[in-house]
Amino acid sequence: MSRPEIEVRALHKSFGDNEVLRGIDLEIGRGEVVCVIGPSGSGKSTLLRCVNLLEEPSKGQVFVGGTEVTDPDVDIDAVRRRIGMVFQQFNLFPHLSVTENLTLPQRRVLGRDKAEAARVAAENLARVGLSEKADAYPASLSGGQQQRVAIARALAMGPRVMLFDEPTSALDPELVGDVLAVMRGLAEDGMTMMVVTHEMTFAREVADRVVFMDGGVIVEDGSPGQVIGSPRHERTRHFLSRLLDPAMAEVEEGTSGQGGGETP
């Protein structure tokens, strides 16, 4: 087997005294779709953000496409061009139209000319089914549409891997399906994807592997059938039972709701 597309080695990350990641080892092969699940505060977002260095790891190494991201001398902007990222809050540029959201990064970062950028933008808008919104502004779109534009914007840069941080968590339930359908299409086209999500159906049907994190470590890593279907660890079982049937969960100490929420 060739070199994994994403390789994380002995990754540690602390915020002050708070050790959020305590030694993560993870490999994701080309074209693989890996879903990361785990309770709030377990470090899922931090792990994802360490892969494209939005967070600086305290210790350990990260490789993407064979390049060491954590090398202090690496051209991080060049590395990031090959890593698409999709955020929970979409983070579209509100002062730009949908098309401009896709063309401006291509032109400023990749130096593509106007016509080429517009062509790639149209192509990717079609891919997420939003060609008719090309001239709209983000504020006039539904959350689901905004997220699909955000995916198209990342794809327009021609990334070799895509990172998703709870891409459907901020959406109304009836809009989740459209976004997941786009992601499913991407997976079928062979994109390497690392997806933090609570959508268990998506994880079961689309993921090649599911990784369960808790307390800054990977507790379980295996096929969806294995991790979701017959988890080996008590912590995984506990998490899944609460996720699948929230009404059955007992009130626990220390769970202060959905932490880490960013303002849109």
């Binding site: 494209n52 939005l54 902007d77 060049a78 990031r80 061009r81 890593i83 698409g84 990222m85 955020f87 809050q89 983070n91 579209l92 540029f93 509100p94 002062h95 401006l104 990064p105 400023r108 970062v109 990749l110 504020a139 955000a150 914007r153 990342a154 840069m157 960013e262 303002t263 849109p264």
Partner: protein, 279 residues
């Protein structure tokens, strides 16, 4: 619930002051005070003298067209050049203030504290008198126009720097993260993504600053200007002393309002638009 069950205590009161009557009474009282004040002013003012001193039609006429083609034009020119210098300088200082380099932050902080604390008048005197004295032979390019641009620029840069900094910080953190994740360098992200959004946020306060500068441009007076370089205040004052009448002051004042009132209107429009956009 049926009608017969309606709680009687919730029904309109027949006696005493209802809320509606109280409101009507209070509004009536406010109108009464207003009318009384207007009448008191109208009766006590000596309208004949006022008209003589402030509204001599022939003197007013004699001011045109110079008050517009020369004085107002110069006021606008001074203001705009000062605004541009202030904006550029303010932008630089705001970015220094947000820099990760300690000495830059410190320097920007010192500048802001000093120039926010000084009266504009002192800065004009400083630029007009102290600098030429201290550095003989140095000539500020553009003569009076250059001096005014620099003086007004120095005055406004401190305020604008704080406004711009606040605007940049008001742009959600996710915007920078999205830009960086797409491969923008920090500088590119600032120029292409953050600053344009910051300027939308701070357009109203910046326009307010323009109004303030428009008025501060009257301080040109203290630089000593030629006849051709006079702006509204100086122009009005000169004419007022030659004609021994205050009509030119009134006309000059109206010319200021001609510009500042529409500008303020635009600011309010922008602010309510921005309010709508948030929803």
């Amino acid at each position: 619930m049926t009608d017969t069950e309606t709680d009687t205590s919730l029904q309109p009161k027949k006696k005493g002051l209802t809320r509606r009557r109280k409101r009507a009474l209070s509004r009536g009282a406010q109108y009464a005070v207003f009318v009384a004040a207007v009448i008191a002013f109208a009766v006590s003012a000596d309208w004949g003298r006022l008209k003589n001193q402030f509204a001599q039609a022939d003197i007013a006429q004699q001011m045109f067209p110079d008050v517009i083609t020369l004085a107002l034009k110069n006021t606008v020119l001074y203001t705009l050049s000062g605004f541009v210098v202030g904006l550029v300088l303010g932008m630089v200082i705001a970015l220094m203030r947000l820099s990760s380099v300690g000495p830059y932050r410190w320097l920007a902080g010192v500048y802001i504290e000093i120039f926010r604390g000084l009266p504009a008048l002192l800065i004009f005197i400083f630029v007009g008198v102290a600098v030429p004295l201290a550095f003989p032979g140095t000539e500020i390019p553009g003569g009076t126009y250059g001096k005014v641009a620099i003086a007004l620029g120095l005055v406004s840069a401190a305020y604008m720097a704080e406004t711009i900094r606040a605007g940049i910080q008001a742009v959600p953190k996710g915007q920078l993260e999205a830009a960086r994740s797409l491969g923008f360098s920090p500088a590119r992200a600032m120029v292409s993504i953050i600053v344009p959004q910051a300027f939308r946020i701070i357009l109203p306060p910046l326009t307010n600053e323009l109004v303030l500068l428009f008025k501060d441009s009257s301080l040109v007076l203290f630089l000593g200007v030629t006849l051709e370089e006079r702006e509204l205040s100086k122009f009005g004052r000169d004419l007022a002393s030659t004609t021994a009448n205050s009509t030119p002051i009134l006309v000059a004042g109206l010319c200021y309002l001609l510009v500042t009132v529409p500008l303020s209107f635009v600011v309010r429009r922008m602010e309510s638009k921005a309010q709508e956009a948030i929803r």
